[in-house]
Amino acid sequence: MELLLIVLLGLLYAAGVYMILRRSMVKLLLGIMLLGSGTNILIFLLGGITKGKPPVIDENAKLFQDAFADPIPQALILTAIVISFGLTAFAIVLLKRVYALVNSDDLDDLNTPEEEDI
């Protein structure tokens, strides 16, 4: 499974990079989201993946009785997911504003603002 995940995160990165090399603003944003997902998987994998042993202490115990999944990568990824949502939400609204102003999804059109927009 680890090897599959390694291939998967490589694909996520490749797709992300490919998307940010495009001209469309929406694709740029999707690319950034893909890179984020790839990174999450990367951290998750490198923390060591364990099946069926969530880092939650048993109901009537005070300590773990058994091995448990590493909680640190999970805490990191949780933070990353939430922050990237902040970024995504802001970017989506920003894209909408840009679109309303320039009437285009093309990044190249942002280089030369028309006279009346300045």
Partner: protein, 770 residues
Amino acid sequence: MLLAVLSGLIISLLIIPFGRLLKTKWSILLTLLPALLFLYFISYIPAISAGSSFLQHTNWVSSLGVDFDFRLDGLSLLFALLITGIGTAIFFYARTYLKGHVFFDRFFGYLCLFMSAMLGVVLSDNILLLFVFWELTSISSFFLIGFNNDNADSRKSALTALSITGLGGFFLLAGLVLLGNIAGTYTISELITSREVILGHDLYPLILGFLFLGAFTKSAQFPFHFWLPGAMKAPTPVSAYLHSATMVKAGIYLLARFSPILGGTDYWNYTLMIVGGFTMLFASIHSLFRIDLKGILAYSTISALGILTFLIGAGTREAIIAASVFILVHALYKATLFLITGIIDHETGTRDITVLSGLRRVLLPVSIAGFLAAISSAGLPLTYGFIGKDLIYEATLKTEYQPLGWILTGIAVLTNIGLVAAGFMAGIKPFFGVLPEKFGNVHLPYKSMWMPPLVLAILGLVFGLFPGPVGQFVNHATADAVLGSPSDMHLKIWHGFNIVLILSLATLIAGVIVYFINKPSALKLHAIEKLNSIAPQRVFTGYANDIMRFSKWYTNLFHNGYLRSYHMKIILFAEGLLAYKLWISGPITLNFEAVTVPSFYEIGVILILIGALYIVVTTPSRLTSVVSMSVIGYCICLIFVFYSAPDLAMTQFTIDTLSTVLFVLVLYKLPSFINMTSKTVLYRDGIISLSFGVIISLIALRVWSEPISKDIANFYGENAYILAKGKNVVNVILVDFRGIDTMFETVVLSIAALGVYSLIRLRLKSTEKE
């Protein structure tokens, strides 16, 4: 002394709020500044002549070894008197010259700043402080030269002057820092004591080279001379001030100041004599071909600077005394000539000497000043210039490099012949001959304009008639400062009938003959301008253009305004670095026992994910891509579920749903993607991104095959309940152990939310589509 140096800076700052007042008759107050400073410095003459010097120390940046250390000795005093004395004349003159000018206040602001900077240069006892003021002269002279900023030529020549002197300043700094490091002190008076250490050091030639570059650029020595004629675009008072007594003499001052520290070696003497000698002859000949009054004066100034460099290079007692006398002589007559040029230009509207003649009928006091200055520059007996010229010949004849003595004297004679003719062309030619009709109604300007040149010219005569008192001071000035021991030479009008006198007379006669034979004309000017293609100026501008082209090309390559091209360069660079690191860290060894076997539903999820990924990348429909994006998110969510991360799964699920909803709600109106890129570009990007993916995968593989430490995980596992009373360790980490981090995370999210809210509420224009 500190106040004397900084007063100009303070005044120029005060001009910002009070500039309006200056445009009225209150401007007379401003001329008090150089006059008062002049009187202040005059008060030091008796003490300095008696051989003492004054030090003043004020802390500034002591930790860096830069303090306000000022030292007034003979050399400094000579320059300080020139700066303030000529400055007084210039201030008076410019007040009338620029009357009613829109930027009158600005001009005087620059002028005060410049005067301060010059005083700082000649009074600093700390070489870093000297450098600060040195740069300040470059900067303030940039503004003065480019004062007529609506004229493109003027702007260009100001820029040339700044870049040449700035380049020199750059080298000078390097030289000064090296010097300070070797000697262990930045104070000039202490550097003199470590002379032996410096001369013996391996880096001595380098220091000397840097210092020379600084001095030569400032003092317009060949091949850096061309900025000076260009700087003639400045208003005439500026040219008079910068080129007679101040700016260009700063390089000379530097050489004189450092000759007791670095001088006396073959490197020093030969370089200065060769460069100075070439410059003086070259510029002197050049000046004969000019038809613009200011052009003549510019080249004769370069020639005079060459003479000074040459004399300092010769380094004998006679040469140094000749140099200091000549500094004063030249300042007096050159300022006069510049000022009368300004009057002629102001009244007749031309500076072309082929047109100007007979003006003595209408501008009598001006013509007297011009005549006196011309004969002083020619070195007619009884003028101060005569004494200066005598001393120069005496210096060249008595040089240590004996077989060369006659050659050097020959060069000096030739140079002086040119200077005599040039002085006559500038000071006498416009006033004699027939007055053309069109100048018939030319009238004398205000007294405040013709008085300054007249006074300066008469001073030249007085100093020549009574050289004793002045000579006493000038001798001490140089002898003490440059040579380190008092001199017993006395300036005399009459040396007796000897070879020097014969040379002087021969020079004079030849100069007059050249003046009468050489009729400057536009044709001759054209002829000599053909040589411009091999002139140093061409080389410099060529280099400057090449640098511009290179930077343009470089900027276009890396900063072309296309975001994706920036991305591509960053990614490629990262790929290069990462691949290199992977390569040198050796082969990856895999531990196949640690690999778990995936179950069929895991494989299924990953296949779905890869399929969705493919759709996101290739689909032309925006909606499809957004939906596929959410499929990817849910698949990742499932992976989290399989591998013991319920919190992640929940968060991922919520966030993914929210993002998709937001996407669809906000962006559904956008057009579908259009394929605008060619196949080749797509393949290129595909290769770049796939190789990036491969590199990341390999890195992941390498890192994964290393053992990881479980210490921190165990710490959290053991203490989650005992210390923090929580059983979900991930939650405990977020809200307890790393609570403050989480708080800031919420702050970040709140800011993002505010941003989203304000962007939605923002109404930019009525024309905007909703």
